[in-house]
Amino acid sequence: MTAATELRPSAGQRLAGLARTLISPRGAVFLLLVLLLVAIAVLNPSFAEPSQFIRFIQRVAPVAIVAIGQYFVIVGGEFDLSMGSVVTAQVVIAGNLIGQDESKALPVLALMLGFGAVIGLVNGLIVSFLKVPSFIVTLGMMLALLGAVLYWTGGAATGNPADGFREIGRGGIRGIPVIDILPWSVVILVVVLALAVWFARRPFGRTIIALGDNPTTARFSGTRSWWVKTSTFMISSLSATVAGVLLVGYAGVHPSVGRGYEFTAITAVVLGGVVLGGGRGWVVAAAAGAFALEALFTLLNFAGVPSTYRDAVQGAIIILAVAYSATTFRARRRGRALEAPVVPPPGAPPPAAAPETSPASGAKTDDSPETPATPAPIPSTQRADNETKGGS
C-alpha cells in the first residue's frame, strides 16, 4: 500500500462502499432525494409515470442549473447572492428585447449570455482586486442590478418574448414513446450537468476547488487566483442566464421570476454536502440538492400541507439535513483519522535502531488506533484544519 499503489476493490466492497456513501454526508442528499421521491410517488402514484416525472425534471431544471453555477462559486470559497437578480434581469431583457420578433431571438440570446458573463466578470474583479467580501459584492450587485432593470423597464416587461424563444423552456421533442415529450429543459440540464462534471474534473475545475480549500497555497502554486475566482462568478452568472432563458420559456416574464433563487441555490448546494467556505463538494450532489429541495416542495404540495406551513417545514428539513451532514462528518472524520495508520516509510530507519535510545522504548509498539490525541476541548491540529470550514 505504500507508494501510492491502489487496491482493486472487490464487488462486495464496492456495494458496501456504495451503502456507506449513501449514509455518508456526501451521499446523504441522494438518500434524501430518493426518500422524497418515493414519498411523493406513494401519495400520488401518477407522479412516477415517466411522462409526469419528466415534467418534474423540466421544472427543476432551472433551479438545478442555478445550483450548479452556485456550486462553483461556493466550492471556490465565495458566495453569489446576485444570481436571483441575474435571472430576473435576463428574463426581463428577453421579454423587452425579443418581443414578438422571432428573428431577434438569437442575437438577444447572445447578448444575454454576454451580459451574464459581464456581470460575473464585474463581481469577480471586485472580489479579486478590491478585496471586498463576495457576500457584500454580490449583495450590492443584487440590489443594483434589479433596480437598474426595473428602472430601465419601468417596473415591468413589455411582454413575453416570441413563442419560438420560449419554446426552449416550454417545449420539447414531442412524440417520444414512453415519456411523450422530452422537454428541452431536461436536455439542457443534462448537457449543463455533463459539462459541469467534465469541467469540475478538468485541471481548471480542480484548481477552483484547490483555491477554495487554500487560496495561499493556490497562489504559491502559480494559480491565477483572480481569473479562477472571476471565472467562477462568470460561470454562476452564466448559469443564472441559462436558468433565465428556461424560466422565461417555462413561466413568462415577470420581475419576480428569480426572486430568492440565490438562497434556494445556496441551500441546494449546502444540502448537497458542499462546504460553505470552499474546498469540498461534488457538483452532482449540488444538483441533487436542488432536486431534493424541489421534491420537498412538491411533496408538501401533494401532502396538502397548507401553503403557509411550507416554509416552516422547509426550514426544519434544511437544518436537520445539514446538521446530519455536519455531525456525521465530524464523527466520520474522527473515525477516519483512527482507521488511517500511516505506514512508516520503508526508508525510515526504525526508531529503535538509533544507538543510544533509552531502554524504556518499545513499551508500545502495536499499531492499535490511538484516540486522536486530544482532550475534548482542544482538537489536534489535524482536525482543526477543516473544523474551521465545516463548523460555523
Binding site: A3, T217, G222, T223, G279, A354, T357, S358, A373
Partner: protein
C-alpha cells in the same frame, strides 16, 4: 537540594500509531533551569504539551509538588502553576497585547472586565522584564515577531507560575533580545520558578541551564548537570550518529554547470543588496536567524513580493519575475516553509495536491503528468493509502513529499527550498536530501533555506548567511557553525567565541 516541584516519569505518546514519546521523564526543582534538547521531531514539544495538558499521555505519571496531576486542558495546568510558551504563536492578532495576555481569564471588578488593571498588570509584567517598547494597548498584529514572542512569554508569566515551559522562546529573537530573555530567566530563577527550556541554540543552553536532558527519537538519552557536558558531547548525544551518513554525498556525475540564477544588488522592501549566483548542479544553503529575511528572499525570487531594485538573471537572461505564475513558467519552484498554510490544500487528495501546479499553470500537460505521478510518488516513498487519500491524513514527512512531488512534476530548473525538512522525521529528511542530490545531478540548481545548521553545513556547496535583510556573508562548504552563527548575528568578529563558549 530542595523538593522537586515537577516529576514526570515514563511518558508515552503515539500519534495515529506512530510513537513519538517512549517513556520520557525528568525532574524539575524550584529555581532550576532545565534544558531539553534534541533534534527536530525528537518529541520535545510533544513532551511539553503533555505536561501542559494539550495532549493526553498514553502512559506515565506527572507529579507537581508531590501530587499526581492529569491536566485535560492548558488552563488547568496554568491554574496549577504550570505555564507554557508554545512553539507556535497563540495570539489573536486583532486584539491588544493586554487582551491577549489575559484572554480567557480577564480580571474583573464589579463583574466587569477591569481594562485598566489588565493594561496596568501587563505593563507591570513588561516592566519587570525590562521592556518599554511594547505598548500594552497596541493590537498584536502591529508587533514584530520578536515582540509577539515577548507577549507570549508575558502571557505565560501572568499566571504567576511555579513552572514555566518555554518552547524555543528565542527562535524569533535577535541578539540583544536574547540577552533580555537571559535577564528574564535569571529573575524567574531567583524567584524560585522552575523553567523547562527548549532551544536549538546550544550556546543558550549552556549559558542558561543547570541541567540538560537530551531526547532522541522520542526516547530519553541522558539527563544530568550541564557542567558535565560540552558541546561535542551534547551534539553526539543528540544526533547519535556520525553526520556523514546523515547527509548523502553528491551523486556521481553531478557537475557544476552554468549559472542558473544570478542576482545582482537585488532588493525590495524586505531584503536588500542581494548578490547571488546559483549554478546548475549546485546547492546553496541560506542560513540566518528567524526574521533575517531568508523567506523573503525566496519570495522575492519567486515573484510573490518582487524585487524592486537590482537585476535578476535566469539562465543568462535578465528577467523580472512579478508573480508566482510567471516564476513557475520560468522553471522556478518554491517549496514553502509553511506546509499547511502555503504548500498544501489539506482537504484535497494526494493526487490533487501533486497536480496542483501542473493543473493551474501547465494544464495541457496534466494527463501526461498524471500518468507518471504514481512513479514519482513511489520514488519519493510517499506512504499513503492511495492517491485518493486526503493529504490532511498524512504525516508531516509524507505531506512534505507531496509538496516536493507537486514541484517535481513541473520539472523545474531552479528549486527554492524554504525549510524543506521542517517538522519531518529523520527518515523523511534523508529522503529529501537524497532527492536534492538527485536533482542536482540532473542539473537543477537548489537554493536551500534552513534553520538547522547541520543541514546547511551538510548539504550546501556554498552558504549564504542572511542578517537583517542583507546577505551578510558568503561562506564555503563545510563552514563551521560558529562562523555561520557569527555572520547570522552580524558579529563576524566573534567567530572564535562560538564553539568554545561552553
Amino acid at each position: 537540594m530542595s523538593e522537586p516541584i515537577l516529576v514526570a516519569e515514563g511518558l508515552e505518546k503515539s500519534f495515529f500509531g506512530v510513537q513519538v514519546l517512549r517513556g520520557v521523564g525528568l525532574t524539575l526543582h524550584p529555581g532550576e533551569v532545565h534544558g531539553l534538547i534534541g533534534e527536530n521531531g525528537a518529541g520535545k514539544s510533544t513532551f511539553m504539551k503533555i505536561l501542559a495538558g494539550v495532549y493526553q499521555r498514553d502512559g506515565g505519571t506527572v507529579r507537581i509538588a508531590g501530587a499526581e496531576v492529569d491536566f485535560q486542558h492548558p488552563v488547568q495546568a496554568a491554574e496549577a502553576g504550570l505555564a507554557t510558551v508554545f512553539q507556535e504563536f497563540n495570539l489573536l492578532p486583532e486584539r491588544t497585547v493586554a487582551e491577549n495576555v489575559f484572554v480567557g481569564r480577564e480580571p474583573r471588578r464589579f463583574g466587569l472586565v477591569d481594562r485598566r488593571r489588565m493594561v496596568r498588570q501587563t505593563e507591570q509584567l513588561l516592566a519587570e522584564l525590562g521592556i518599554d517598547f511594547i505598548d500594552a494597548d497596541a493590537p498584536v498584529r502591529r508587533l514584530s515577531v520578536a515582540e509577539q514572542q515577548i507577549v507570549e512569554i508575558v502571557k505565560a508569566l501572568s499566571v504567576d507560575a511555579r513552572v514555566i515551559q518555554m518552547d524555543e522562546p528565542t527562535a524569533a529573537l535577535a541578539d540583544h533580545e536574547v540577552e533580555l530573555l537571559y535577564a528574564i530567566v535569571a529573575r524567574l530563577k531567583a524567584r524560585g520558578v522552575a523553567i523547562l527550556y527548549v532551544s536549538h541554540r546550544l550556546k543558550e543552553i549552556f549559558d542558561l541551564c543547570d541541567t540538560i536532558t537530551v531526547l532522541k527519537d522520542g526516547a530519553l538519552v541522558s539527563t544530568g548537570p550541564a557542567a558535565e557536558l560540552d558541546t561535542d558531547e551534547l551534539v553526539r548525544r543528540m544526533v547519535g550518529r556520525p553526520i556523514e551518513t546523515y547527509f548523502p554525498e553528491a551523486e556521481p556525475g553531478t557537475e557544476l554547470g552554468e549559472p542558473r540564477l544570478v542576482l545582482r544588488g537585488a532588493g525590495n522592501g524586505y531584503v536588500d543588496g542581494i548578490e547571488l549566483e546559483l549554478r546548475a548542479g549546485e546547492i546553496v544553503g541560506v542560513a540566518g536567524l528567524q526574521g533575517s529575511g531568508r523567506t523573503e528572499l525566496a519570495e522575492a525570487v519567486f515573484g510573490i513580493a518582487p524585487f524592486t531594485r537590482g537585476t535578476m538573471e535566469l539562465d543568462g537572461r535578465a528577467i523580472r519575475v512579478t508573480g508566482a505564475r510567471q516564476a513557475v513558467r520560468e522553471g522556478l519552484a518554491l517549496v514553502t516553509e509553511d506546509r499547511k498554510a502555503q504548500g498544501l490544500a489539506l482537504n484535497q487528495s494526494v493526487l490533487d495536491n501533486a497536480l496542483l501546479v501542473i493543473r493551474s499553470v501547465f494544464s495541457r500537460r496534466t494527463a501526461a503528468v498524471r500518468r507518471e505521478l504514481p512513479g514519482v510518488l513511489s520514488s519519493l516513498e510517499v506512504a499513503s493509502r492511495g492517491v485518493e487519500q486526503e493529504v490532511q491524513y498524512l504525516s508531516g514527512g509524507n505531506q512534505q513529499k507531496v509538496v516536493l512531488a507537486k514541484w517535481l512534476a513541473t520539472e523545474p530548473r531552479v528549486v527554492l527550498m524554504d525549510e524543506p525538512t521542517r517538522g519531518i522525521d529523520v527518515g523523511a529528511k534523508v529522503a529529501v536530501y537524497r532527492l536534492m542530490r538527485r536533482l542536482t545531478r540532473e542539473g537543477v540548481a537548489i537554493l536551500m533555506i534552513s534553520s538547522e545548521l547541520p543541514e546547511v553545513i551538510g548539504m550546501s556547496d556554498r552558504i549564504i548567511v542572511m542578517h537583517d535583510g542583507r546577505a551578510s556573508a558568503e561562506l564555503p562548504a563545510r563552514s563551521d557553525e560558529a562562523t555561520i552563527l557569527a555572520a547570522a548575528t552580524g558579529t563576524l568578529a566573534a567567530i572564535e567565541l562560538g564553539g568554545g563558549a561552553a
